[in-house]
Symmetry: D2
Subunit: 433 residues, 4 copies
């Protein structure tokens, strides 16, 4: 589908189609409207005649409607206004009462914020799934390469010996932090009505047959919001029209994912330079060709991951500026800037997740080359050891394997952490070492 792919931009965007495409977002908005109408019915705020309309709502709008809704969005400044009009139009003939009751009590921001959160959650679920697979791959790499000696590099220069297993463990720690950040997120429903007071819903509840007086109506209105939240699987909470931490937390978490992959990609880019040659992207993937140089095998996945990592921080920063500018009861532009920014950030992260998974699954580790570099780096890489030994009056040998510190214990620790996250099943904890 057209919207899922941009020419220059993010090859692979179609992988993100399921979670945060324009079509997915449109569907999510409809899902919110349907869940709300359903709750109005369940609480008997809306008349029972509208019941059949709920089922009709779902599916009333199709991906093919995206362009029309988009074009009609500019007049009111957001896509909810034309979407509601379209839904009412589509349901009007057959479900007149339901059509009248669509969106009652809500404001545009309720619908769009809920949809943004739903799509973010779906995107992050995809990302988390990829992260878990990547962690399993890294646990295997860390364990398999406990004994694969290589030189540790600091400020680009040879420092001391280490192992590739330890490097893989370091990469894994970044991904573990990303998973922890994802798991710490709460996905909040947004139901506040025109100004975050729920006044519209309270008004409707007050006039409903079931309603009897002001206090009750408030309870009923909050119940409508709570039920809709439950239907959508979102956390019921007070309105956050101008408290945008729920979105900046999502944005920052997405960036922590691209940070972690970017860090890995940069290592692969460095270590797959021909002069170093210790790592390489999978050769058989049909990737990495050049438009003019027949011999080239470019580390394309790492290049694309680095691209994602360089662009993401600025997008998250825009979400923060928007958050600080969220004035009044609903803001004048600061809300609007969040949408494309978050969508772009989330979709790129989903794409990067998939590319990172492919990168790690196919990573080639050249232990021979690592060992050769380390041998070449002797005796300098043992200079620290010698200077420390001298302090104690001891002498040391010249075997870099004798200066690996706590690497094994650090690898054990990360494998245990990965097992805790992944359920352990897929992690070979090194029984055969």
């Amino acid at each position: 589908m057209a919207h899922e792919t941009g020419l220059l931009t993010w090859p692979g965007d179609d992988r993100a189609g399921e979670s945060f495409s324009d079509a997915a977002l449109l569907a999510a908005m409809v899902e919110v409207e349907a869940a709300w109408l359903d709750a109005l019915l369940t609480t008997r705020v809306a008349p029972a005649e509208a019941r059949a309309g709920v089922a009709a709502l779902v599916g009333a709008v199709q991906p093919g409607d995206v362009d029309d809704v988009a074009r009609a969005s500019e007049a009111g400044g957001n896509p909810v206004i034309p979407l509601v009009a379209l839904l009412r139009d589509r349901l009007g003939d057959t479900h007149f009462v339901a059509a009248q009751w669509i969106h009652r009590g809500l404001t545009s921001q309720d619908v769009l914020d809920c949809a943004l959160v739903l799509c973010s959650r779906a995107a992050l679920a995809q990302v988390r799934g990829e992260l878990v697979a990547q962690l399993r791959a890294l646990a295997r790499l860390a364990d398999a390469h406990r004994g694969t000696l290589m030189v540790a590099r600091t400020l680009t220069q040879h420092a001391v010996p280490t192992t590739f297993g330890a490097k893989a463990a370091t990469w894994a720690r970044g991904l573990l932090d990303a998973v922890a950040d994802i798991d710490a997120l709460t996905y909040r429903a947004q139901f506040g009505g025109a100004a975050g007071t729920l006044a519209g819903t309270v008004e409707l509840a007050r006039h409903a047959p079931a309603g009897n007086g002001n206090d009750d109506a408030v309870t009923v209105a909050q119940d409508v919001a709570a039920r809709t939240s439950r239907t959508l699987g979102l956390a019921a909470c007070p309105p956050w029209h101008t408290d945008r931490a729920p979105l900046t937390r999502i944005g920052d978490t997405l960036v922590r994912c691209t940070d972690a992959w970017g860090r890995i990609a940069n290592d692969v880019l460095t270590l797959s330079r021909p002069e170093i040659g210790e790592l390489g992207e999978a050769a058989d993937a049909g990737r990495g060709g050049s438009s003019t140089m027949p011999h080239k095998a470019n580390p394309v996945l790492s290049v694309l991951l680095r691209r994602a990592a360089l662009a993401a921080p600025s997008l998250a920063a825009t979400l923060h500026v928007a958050s600080a500018e969220a004035v009044d009861e609903r803001p004048d532009g600061a809300w609007h800037v969040e949408w494309a920014t978050l969508q772009t950030l989330a979709r790129r992260t989903v794409v990067a997740a998939s590319q990172a998974g492919e990168l790690l699954a196919g990573l080639r580790v050249d232990g021979e080359r690592m060992r050769a570099t380390l041998a070449w780096a002797l005796p300098d890489v043992l200079a620290e050891q010698q200077s420390l030994a001298a302090l104690t009056g001891a002498t040391t040998g010249d075997d870099p394997a004798g200066y690996l510190g706590a690497n094994d214990a650090l690898i054990d620790d990360v494998i245990a952490q990965i097992a805790a996250v992944t359920g352990g099943g897929g992690v070979n904890t090194g029984a055969d070492r």
Copy 2:
């Protein structure tokens, strides 16, 4: 067409379709390939049999190919590789020799950089056209409202008297700076081959019938680049594969446009608050409706302009990070991050240009309200005047019209500057005042 509109993101994106859509970019890349092949032929580097292929090239690819090229881009990390394959495939049967000679001497970055510059130029031409119309509108507003007294506000508080004409002049100065920045841009062709040495083209020239020896081949290769640049209307220059100032200058210029509109939009948003009510967006545009409040007339154009202005700086910052990271002879991700960033920035700027034009053309100025606010702000807004007069031993009146400083001269100055930019025809320089 689908790609021209994003659901949530940038209503109005289809206005940007002509200049920097995916289809426009694809066409620009083909234009570059065609111009290059033509130059190879003109210089007799390519064999004359390929001549007919040039015409065939133009039009060999259609907007409908965008998705396929996009999907195929990920393998090599850029869209030029599948585009060249597609072009060779399409021309292969009927224009075998031309198909063979497509892209010879070029690298992917040559084609894509040229296309990015071509599309940026087209976008900026659209933007400049809008700016000129806006400047004409502002010249009229500045002149017509020389006598429209209003209170000047600093740090949100009432300061001293001014006129709306003076405010319009201030807005215009921002746009004049933006026009000056656009006019200062050079659009550079990019022809360097695999590593910026033009070696491929020199090699081809060396073997061409017309070529005779190394030195000559260099001259011929540079001639190919110069001719192609001329055909495309771009500045011939040495390769800039890793000197990205040509792109960051474009990016920074785009942001200076959104800065200038953002500044105007923020004023309109403030001054169209009901409590102030001195400015308003056009009421008859069918804009500004709410999804739930029938009485609302939101300043939607200003909201959308503010949105564009808040998002743009981060995008330009990403271009700068990419520029600083442009390592080796062609970079490993830093180049790739520029594409979507620049495209998004340019397209949003084109959309914003159009919205700013609509905003200024329909702006409602409530001189009565301005005058009333100023009267209400007396005598405080003359406190500075009194304190200065006291210094000289003079006394002052209580007419705010007596404390307008050099406003008229400042307005004359800006009208003259606008006339110089717009050709003057459309500027009413106030003969009738």
Copy 3:
């Protein structure tokens, strides 16, 4: 002290002096070195003769040393190298053995990262203290102004009725989210040695009288790290030299604080415009004067908060770029860019915390003016109510107090949340309403 104040930059920076000034950072680095040496002694890795040096270390360096250490930092690219040299020099005569054992097993990044975390924690403790006081103030405002009717504004325009109590509750929710983010942070110790393997400490432990063989030495080295972490009150954990989530989480949290204050400041700036006049900064604070207009009373605290909020997101973005670029075993510039960025961000946040506290403590609420604006906005602000009532066949009155939705319940909720955070003692939960 000179370093605590910048001329133009952040008036009030001296409030941040305690937590993250240059002097505080220098002291923190010394604290880390002392704690490490102490742990080396406790574990009998270092010889007992060095014991007396631990006490001497503390206090060996003074704020007056900041400039010398700073100047000497450029040669090695970080301040730890000259600091260690200075410490060894100062202890050399009287504590020769201790001087020899300073910094053994550590790398510069261990010391500086720990110090950055210690100073960040101190800064965030200051910030949290301010936030708690602000939340108490907001609980009081929310409760006291349950009945203070005002117009709710969306996209700058009058929308429906609300109360100032509800607005204060909204502000409070932003601060509650910031407190939750602070409380979710872990402050990680950094002890990895030259390349994150702890090899240096393992080597020392191996040669120590207490050490007996390789496995034991690893345990001892990890014990040294764990003890030092405990002494510093930091979380013991594997090295994170190239996994920078511990720092980006701090950075993002700092920005969420400035986001929350920026949102409040922007509301105050809007609502203290003379034409609106519903809020005002404290008049008696000696703040807000103008250099030329004697009558001006500028909302200076809000202006300064807005300043902080506009600058913070970019700084956090820089931390993320650095995180993604953290290559090798210790990075080549990406680490170095974090220091000033984090310090600046933290110190500005501390200053802003104090300014936000002052703003809220002195906030003037003009209930009369709010009520007048709302009255003026009738009947439009009840248009939504009427359209909803019409849907149910009901009629409504024209009293805006009848369309406040769930405001009271929402205020109760936020007051309860504040009580949970602040211990409740200072929160008047509205018994007297």
Copy 4:
């Protein structure tokens, strides 16, 4: 002096002391006040008795006053208010009339904006001087290494042959673009008074003995502004209190400098990796030591340049956000955020300029290593040549020197451009090759 050095942040900051330190900025503000008072006197707006005060003004404030002014700045939100009070106080006894006339007609923003521009100009003059020296060094490198064969790298992989001379020419092009950007800047004076109308000065001129009537007073006021501009060496122009392009242009230009150095530093960091070893920082500079590894020689200058380049884009983005938010006649926070941002950006750029100069002056080029890598990369690096030759039916040799394209011509071109910028004197254009 204390303010010139930050502990962690920017070793070498004291090099920036002359141009944009706090003391320099304070002095620049005094310079502006003095020049303005002088112009008031020359135009006979201020009484002749104030004449002697002009000389007294200069020098009335010392670097030691920075802290007091800074602390007093928070109350009014900017440093001009306490500075004017201090100046009046210091001159009060001996130059009573002058003290009264200081700052008359100006607003805080006039003084601070002028001072920011003056300090920016001074910083950019330092930077330009460094750039010229760097360009001379690069011209020498490009010329001396025309024949130093090396492998060109694209997307980290070996591509085709090139020369180090060609790489140096590429670096130089980035610096030439930076110089061109600096030379394109205009440094604008800012004189608008309280609201950009010059009303205060017009008022004073109206009451001056020389003034006679409104029109004349305007001319006199503009003359005061023009004369002061001339004294300061700044461009006379209409007020730009809310048109911030004059500052964003400076900010963007500063970033283009750090972009250009960052690009060079990244190349040096890559090519001085031990496995590549083709470039190295000067070994004898006493730089690059490690706190624990005696053998290390870190590429510290490149690390510090990379740091500057990674941080700069975000700062320039903040200036753009501020520009877009410059509302009213003078803005409420957007102005305030510019100060520290611009100062930090400018000072870091000055420091980076000096580090880049040192890097290039001492750069070690290992031609043997370059040649060896290239030999090792054969025959792949000639694969493109062969495929192109095959197209023409020709055959090629296996000497990489035969596939250098237009390198020599490109080097000649850049040397000529450098000569045009530097005056040519210092450029050895390769007579001895």
